[in-house]
C-alpha cells in the first residue's frame, strides 16, 4: 500500500474564485507592507551596527541584574534577552546582549567590550562569552544596500529567464508570486519581531528560488497542456495542469518541510530564525504558485496560437525542411 497525499485523479476547481484569492493575497501583502512601514524590522547588528555578546553561565540568567550592571556604563540602547533551546544542558544558561552602535566609532572598541564583560562578570562570576560580534555603521549601511540589490537582482534575473522560456504573462505571474512571498516573509518578521540579519537575506533568496521552482513546474505543465488541449479554454487547461501536478507539489513541499522542521527543532538557536524564514517561505511559496501565479496567469490570458508558423517562427527549427 502506497502513501498518497492526494487521490490519483483530482479535479479541484482552483479558478472559480480567482478574484477572491487574488484579493486575499493582495490584502495579506498590504498588511505585511503596512506592518513593515509602521513597525519596521527588528534589524540585527548586521544591518544597524552595534555589538552582540552571547553569554553562557551555569547560574540562571538574571536579565534585570545584567541590565542594572550595564546601565552604569552609559552605552545607550541595550537589549538583553535570554535564549532557550532544547539542546542546552541544564547548567547552560544563555543570553544575548545587544549594544547599539556608539557615536563616532566604527566597530565597538575593545575597551568597551572589556568593560561590558567585566560588568557582567560582576553579576555572574562564571560567565563565558561564547561569541562577540561587532559591526560598524559604515559596513551595516552597505550590507543593507547589497541585500536589497541582491533580492532585486534575483527577481529581475528570474523575470528575464521565465520570459525567455515561456511568455511574458507567465513571467508576470511568477514574479507577482515572488513579490508576494518576499513581502509576506518580511511582514511576518516584522509582526513577530524576529531578528532580521544577513542570514535572513539568504533565506529570502532561497525562498525566491523555491517558490519559483514550484511555479515553474506548474507552468511547465500548463505550457504542455495548452498545446495538448487546444480546444479547451484556459481555465480548464489551468485546472487540469494544477490537478495533475498537485501530487508532486504536495510531495515536494512536504519532504522539504520535514527536513526543515528537523533543522528547526534540533538545529540550535543560532539558525532558528533562518530556518523559520525558509519554512514560512515553503508554505507561502506553495500557496502562491497556485493562487497567485496561476490565478494571475488566468486573469492575464495567454496567447494560444503557438502552432501557427508565424507565431513560433524563431523556435520551430524542425519545420524548415518540412
Amino acid at each position: 500500500m502506497r502513501l498518497k497525499l492526494v487521490r490519483d485523479e483530482t479535479s479541484f476547481d482552483f479558478f472559480s474564485r480567482t478574484k477572491l484569492w487574488l484579493g486575499i493575497s493582495g490584502l495579506m501583502m498590504a498588511i505585511a507592507f503596512v506592518s513593515f512601514i509602521f513597525q519596521g524590522l527588528n534589524f540585527g547588528i548586521d544591518f544597524r551596527g552595534g555589538t552582540t555578546i552571547r553569554t553562557e553561565s551555569a547560574e540562571p540568567v538574571d536579565v534585570g541584574a545584567y541590565r542594572a550592571a550595564l546601565q552604569q556604563l552609559e552605552l545607550g540602547d541595550i537589549v538583553i534577552s535570554e535564549v532557550f533551546d532544547p539542546s542546552f544542558d541544564a547548567d547552560q544558561n544563555v543570553a544575548m546582549v545587544r549594544i547599539a552602535a556608539q557615536d563616532g566609532a566604527e566597530a565597538v572598541t575593545p575597551e568597551t567590550i572589556e568593560a561590558v564583560e567585566a560588568a557582567l562578570q560582576g553579576v555572574a562570576p562564571d560567565i563565558n562569552f561564547t561569541s562577540v560580534e561587532s559591526v560598524g555603521p559604515k559596513v551595516s549601511g552597505e550590507l543593507i544596500q547589497t541585500a536589497i540589490i541582491a533580492v532585486l537582482l534575483a527577481i529581475g534575473a528570474v523575470l528575464i529567464y521565465i520570459w525567455l522560456r515561456f511568455e511574458w504573462q507567465f513571467a508576470v505571474g511568477a514574479v507577482a508570486a515572488l513579490v508576494h512571498d518576499v513581502l509576506l516573509t518580511i511582514g511576518i518578521f516584522s509582526e513577530l519581531r524576529i531578528q532580521f540579519d544577513l542570514a535572513i537575506i539568504a533565506a529570502l533568496l532561497t525562498i525566491v528560488g523555491y517558490s519559483l521552482n514550484d511555479t515553474v513546474v506548474v507552468f511547465d505543465r500548463v505550457r504542455e497542456n495548452l498545446i495538448k488541449y487546444k480546444k479547451r479554454d484556459l481555465k480548464e487547461v489551468l485546472n487540469i495542469s494544477i490537478n495533475e501536478t498537485l501530487s508532486r507539489t504536495l510531495m515536494t513541499s512536504l519532504t522539504t518541510l520535514l527536513a526543515l522542521l528537523a533543522l528547526f527543532v534540533l538545529g540550535g538557536d543560532v539558525i532558528r530564525g533562518f530556518v523559520f524564514a525558509m519554512i514560512w517561505g515553503v508554505i507561502v511559496g506553495t500557496y502562491s504558485s497556485i493562487f497567485v501565479a496561476s490565478a494571475l496567469l488566468y486573469r492575464l490570458g495567454v496567447k494560444r496560437d503557438w502552432d501557427k508558423p508565424d507565431a513560433g517562427a524563431g523556435t520551430q527549427f524542425s519545420n524548415i525542411d518540412a
Partner: protein, 552 residues
C-alpha cells in the same frame, strides 16, 4: 526502449565512486585533520614522535580531502579592516621634502629663502622668499616628477606642483594616489599575511575586499582582540636622524618632531621627520645578543636601504640616530663607525622574549598605513562545537524522515531514490572537499534543503511515470516517457534556483556565501543523481526483472 549505453554506465559509476571516495574522509574528520596538520608541521619543523603518530592516524595513500569548517562552526575571529590609504600620502610627501629642499637651495638667489610650512595634511607647502620668481621654483620642482608606475595611468606623473601666492604646493596627482592606494593595500595584505603565518594558525583567510578593505578570518584563535594584537596597528618603522634631546611640550624645529622614548619614562627626542631608512627596506631581523651578552636584534637592509644607511652613517659618525617604532624611540644609539654592509644591531633594555618579538615584528615589516576595523566577530569554539552537533543531529533526522517518507510513497522506486539521495550527499561533500569550500552553519541548512529538494526531481519523474502508466503501452515505455517529459520541468526549476544561488554567491559574504556554495553544488549533484543515477538503477533493475506491470 529503456537502455543506457555501456560507456555512459561506466561514466556514471565512475562519478559516483569519485563522490564516495572523496567524501569518505569527512567521516573521520578529526583523524584526517590531525594527519594533515602533522604533515605540514613535519615539513616545516621536522619530525617528532608525536607528529609521526599523528601523521599515521590516516594512511598516506588514501585521499585526505575534507571540507573546511567555517568560523561559525570551528570558532575563531573575523575582522574587516579598512586601510587608511591616505596616511601614505603624507609619508610620501614628507619624504620628498629633502629632495625639494636640495632642488631649491641652488636657486636661492632667484627664489629667495625657502621655508617648509607645518601641519599641511595631504600637501607639501613651501613658502619662498621671492614670490615673483615662483615660475622658476615651479619648473625646478616639476623636474622631480616621475611617471606613475601603473598601467592604468600611462603618461601621468606622480605629483602636481602649483603656486599659491608665495607658497609652492606639492600634491600627489590623482593617478598617483590611486596607484599608491593599490600598492598600500597590497602591501598591508602581504604584511598581515606574514604576521599571521608567523603565529602559524590553521587555514587563515586573508582577502582583499573592494578598493581599500581587507577581510581576515582566523579559525581557532581566542578573540578578535588577540587577532588585532597579532596584526598590530603599528605605524611605520623608521630610522631617523636625532637632532637632540627634548622634553614634553617642546616646540619642534621645522621639519622635526618630538618623539617619546619607549622604555625611559619622561625622555623625549627631537628627530628629523624625513627618515634615513624605513622598515620596508629591511630584509631580515633575528634575535641575537650584543657583545655584553644582552638580548638584541640583528637586522639587514636590502641594497637601496644599505646604500642610504651606509652613506648616512659615513657622514654622521659620532651622532646619534633613532630607531622608531610605533611613534616611540626604541633606542637612539650613537653611530660608532661607517656601517657599509647594510646590517646592524639594535640594543636596548630588552628581555629575550622582547627581542624575539621585536625581530618578528621587524621581519614582518610595519604596516604601511593604519587600519580601521569596521567589523569584528569572535565565535567561541564551544559555540561552534554546539552548532556542529546540532547540525549533525538535525541533518540525520531530516535525512531519515525523508528516506522513510520516500519509501512509503514510492516503494521500490522510492528506495532507488533514497540510495541516490545518499550518493547525492556524498557527491556534494566530495565536491565541497575537493574545491576546498568552507562549510558554515547556513551551509548545513543548505545541505538539509538540498536533501529536501533533491527528492523533488525524483518526485517529478515518478509522478510522471505514474501518469504515463495510465496511457502508455507497457512499463518500459512509461518509465522512458516519464524521464523524458519530466526533464524540462526539472531543468527549468533548477536553473532558476541556480540563478539565485549565483547571485547569493556574488553578493554575499562569509556564512551566506557558504550557503550559496552548498546550494549551488547541491543543485548540480541532485540533478545529476536524479537524471542519471536513479535512471541507471531503474534500468538495471528493469533488465533483470522484466516486469509486465509496474506500480510506482
Amino acid at each position: 526502449m529503456l537502455q543506457i549505453d555501456t560507456w555512459k554506465r561506466v561514466l556514471i559509476l565512475m562519478v559516483v565512486t569519485f563522490g564516495v571516495v572523496f567524501s569518505a574522509p569527512n567521516l573521520f574528520y578529526d583523524r584526517v585533520e590531525r594527519h594533515k596538520d602533522a604533515v605540514i608541521e613535519i615539513e616545516r619543523e621536522g619530525e617528532t614522535e608525536a607528529r609521526l603518530a599523528a601523521q599515521s592516524a590516516w594512511p598516506d595513500w588514501l585521499p585526505a580531502t575534507i571540507v573546511n569548517l567555517g568560523l561559525d562552526l570551528r570558532g575563531g575571529a573575523h575582522l574587516l579592516a579598512e586601510v587608511e590609504v591616505e596616511d601614505v600620502y603624507d609619508a610620501r610627501l614628507e619624504a620628498m621634502w629633502p629632495e625639494v629642499r636640495d632642488t631649491l637651495r641652488p636657486l636661492r638667489d632667484t627664489v629667495g629663502t625657502i621655508r617648509l610650512r607645518d601641519n599641511t595634511p595631504g600637501e607639501l607647502r613651501v613658502r619662498i622668499g621671492n614670490p615673483d620668481n615662483m615660475g622658476a621654483a615651479l619648473s625646478a620642482v616639476r623636474e622631480l616628477a616621475q611617471p606613475v608606475a601603473s598601467v592604468a595611468a600611462a603618461g601621468a606623473t606622480d605629483i602636481d606642483v602649483t603656486g599659491e601666492g608665495d607658497e609652492l604646493v606639492v600634491r600627489l596627482s590623482e593617478a598617483e594616489q590611486r596607484a599608491t592606494d593599490d600598492r598600500t593595500v597590497r602591501q598591508a595584505l602581504e604584511i598581515i599575511r606574514r604576521r599571521i603565518d608567523e603565529v602559524g594558525t590553521r587555514e587563515p583567510t586573508i582577502q582583499r575586499q573592494g578598493a581599500d578593505r581587507i577581510l581576515i578570518q582566523v579559525p581557532g584563535i581566542g578573540s578578535a582582540a588577540e587577532l588585532k594584537e597579532i596584526i598590530g596597528t603599528t605605524a611605520q618603522l623608521t630610522f631617523q636622524p636625532v637632532v637632540g634631546r627634548a622634553s614634553e611640550g617642546d616646540e619642534p624645529g621645522l621639519g622635526n618632531e618630538i618623539v617619546p622614548s619607549l622604555d625611559e619614562e619622561g625622555v623625549f627626542y627631537e628627530l628629523e621627520r624625513a627618515p634615513v631608512v624605513t622598515g620596508e627596506e629591511l630584509v631580515d631581523a633575528q634575535p641575537a645578543f650584543d657583545q655584553n651578552g644582552r638580548p638584541a636584534v640583528n637586522f639587514r637592509f636590502n641594497t637601496s636601504g644599505a646604500r642610504s644607511f651606509g652613506d648616512y652613517t659615513a657622514e654622521n659618525i659620532g651622532n646619534p640616530f633613532a630607531i622608531v617604532l610605533d611613534d616611540e624611540v626604541i633606542s637612539a644609539p650613537v653611530i660608532q663607525s661607517h656601517i657599509p654592509g647594510g646590517s646592524g644591531i639594535i640594543t636596548g633594555n630588552f628581555t629575550v622574549e622582547e627581542s624575539t618579538q621585536l625581530a618578528v615584528l621587524l621581519r614582518a615589516g610595519a604596516l604601511p598605513a593604519g587600519l580601521i576595523f569596521l567589523e569584528e566577530r569572535t565565535i567561541g569554539p564551544e559555540l561552534g562545537q554546539d552548532s556542529i552537533e546540532a547540525g549533525k543531529v538535525a541533518t540525520m533526522v531530516a535525512f531519515a524522515m525523508v528516506l522513510v517518507f520516500m519509501f512509503a510513497a514510492y516503494g521500490l522506486f522510492g528506495l532507488f531514490a533514497n540510495v541516490a539521495l545518499i550518493l547525492n550527499v556524498a557527491m556534494l561533500f566530495a565536491v565541497l572537499s575537493v574545491i576546498g569550500a568552507t562549510l558554515t552553519l547556513p551551509g548545513i541548512a543548505g545541505i538539509v534543503l538540498t536533501v529536501g529538494m533533491a527528492v523533488d526531481a525524483n518526485v517529478l519523474i515518478f509522478e510522471r511515470i505514474r501518469e504515463e502508466l495510465k496511457t502508455a503501452k507497457g512499463p518500459a515505455r512509461a518509465i522512458e516517457r516519464g524521464y523524458e517529459k519530466a526533464l524540462s520541468a526539472i531543468v527549468d526549476a533548477n536553473i532558476t534556483t541556480m540563478i539565485t544561488a549565483i547571485i547569493l554567491f556574488a553578493m554575499g559574504s562569509g556564512p551566506v556565501r557558504g550557503f550559496a556554495i552548498t546550494l549551488g553544488v547541491g543543485i548540480v549533484t541532485s540533478v545529476f543523481t536524479a537524471i542519471y543515477v536513479t535512471r541507471l538503477f531503474v534500468t538495471m533493475w528493469f533488465e533483470r526483472k522484466r516486469p509486465k506491470t509496474l506500480t510506482v
